[in-house]
Each structure stands twice: as structure tokens, then as C-alpha cells.
């Protein structure tokens, strides 16, 4: 039954592509940061969705043990990778927003076309 993994993979891929469209077509720095956030969410969904299989339980043993095969749990390694990736994404977004605030204070604009290099250097 691969319908679900297909839906997840294609949905995550289209989320990435919508974020890429937002990054390519906007000149507003704030919208660029929003597009980067969309792309990041899409990549995280794709990594975890690639390890999905039907009926996979959350990888938590619980306090009441039964005799269970290890194969009945979902794969924990992509989840661990994505767990750290989300927090790093927040740090990167915050740094980008701080740069945007400085850009606005320096050049009175957040448009990437109107911002000239000489103005920044003054």
C-alpha cells in the first residue's frame, strides 16, 4: 500500500516548490524569509515521509511492555535528524530577521533591488 507515502512525498515536494516560487518572484526580503521557511518545512516533511510505512507506531516503548517485534515501530533516525533541523531552522530564521531589521534601519527599505551597495557602505 504505497498510496500514503506517495501523497506525502508529492505534497512535501509541492510545498518545497511553492516556497521556491515565493523566493524567486519576490523582491521583498520578508517574503524571501517566508519562502525559505516554507522550503524548510517541505524538506523536513519529505525526510520523515520517506521513512513512513503503514501502521508504524511511534518509537516509544511505553511503561507497559508487551512482546513486540522491533519492526512494528517507525524509523527513529530520520525523526532525530529532523528534530534538530527544526530548531536550527528557527535560529537561522531569527538571524535572517535580525539582518532584515538592520537593513531597514540602514537603507529605509527592504526591497533587494532598491538597496544599493554604496548606500550600505556609507
Amino acid at each position: 500500500m504505497n498510496n500514503t507515502i506517495f501523497i506525502l512525498g508529492v505534497g512535501a515536494f509541492f510545498l518545497m516548490m511553492i516556497g521556491l516560487y515565493g523566493v524567486l518572484t519576490n523582491r521583498n526580503v520578508f517574503r524571501l524569509i517566508l519562502g525559505l521557511g516554507l522550503m524548510e518545512t517541505g524538506v523536513n516533511l519529505f525526510i520523515v515521509g520517506a521513512s513512513y510505512w503503514k501502521g508504524g507506531k511511534p518509537p516509544i516503548l511505553g511503561t507497559v511492555f508487551e512482546t513486540k517485534a522491533v519492526d512494528s515501530y517507525a524509523d527513529p533516525v530520520p525523526q532525530a535528524l529532523v528534530l534538530t533541523s527544526i530548531v536550527i531552522g528557527l535560529g537561522v530564521t531569527a538571524l535572517a530577521l535580525a539582518l532584515m531589521v538592520r537593513l531597514k534601519e540602514t537603507t529605509k527599505s527592504i526591497d533587494i533591488i532598491e538597496t544599493k551597495e554604496e548606500e550600505v557602505n556609507e
Partner: protein
């Protein structure tokens, strides 16, 4: 199509619609809040995939802190909504 499939399909479609709204919306605060909705739907998808740790982290960070951070940065920079047209 089982019931789980239909649920995942609906959540994915809502998420993609929210992402399209982020890209096309005029108002910047509205776009930031829409990004929060996309993160919330992604958290639901993580939960359906059997990853509750990632779902909690995505819900707290993506839908809560990140949206507040966007709005606070707009406010701190003093960006007006009127100059935000990108055409």
C-alpha cells in the same frame, strides 16, 4: 483509499492551500500567520506519520514561536503595510 489516506490527503491539501496563500497574499502579517497554519498542518502530518517528538517540536516552534517572531520583527523594523507591494 482508506480513512487514514483521506485524512492525510485533506491535511496535505489544506497545507498546500496555505502555502499558496503565503506566496500570493498582499498583507505581510497575514502571510506570516498563514505560515503558522502551514506549520500546524505539517505538525499534524508528522503526528500521523508516527513521529510525535517531531510533531511537538514543529507545533511549538513553527506555529508558536516563529509566528510571534515574524510579527515582532515587522513591528521592530517599523515596516508599513502600504509600501509592501512587490509589483
Amino acid at each position: 483509499m482508506s480513512a487514514v489516506n483521506i485524512l492525510i490527503l485533506i491535511i496535505t491539501l489544506v497545507m498546500l492551500a496555505g502555502a499558496a496563500a503565503v506566496v500570493t497574499m498582499k498583507s505581510m502579517i497575514g502571510a506570516a500567520i498563514m505560515e503558522g497554519i502551514v506549520s500546524l498542518m505539517a505538525a499534524l502530518l508528522f503526528l500521523k506519520m508516527g513521529a510525535p517528538d517531531v510533531a511537538i517540536t514543529q507545533a511549538v516552534i513553527g506555529a508558536g514561536l516563529s509566528t510571534a517572531l515574524f510579527v515582532m520583527a515587522l513591528n521592530r523594523a517599523g515596516i508599513d503595510e502600504k509600501e509592501a507591494s512587490d509589483e
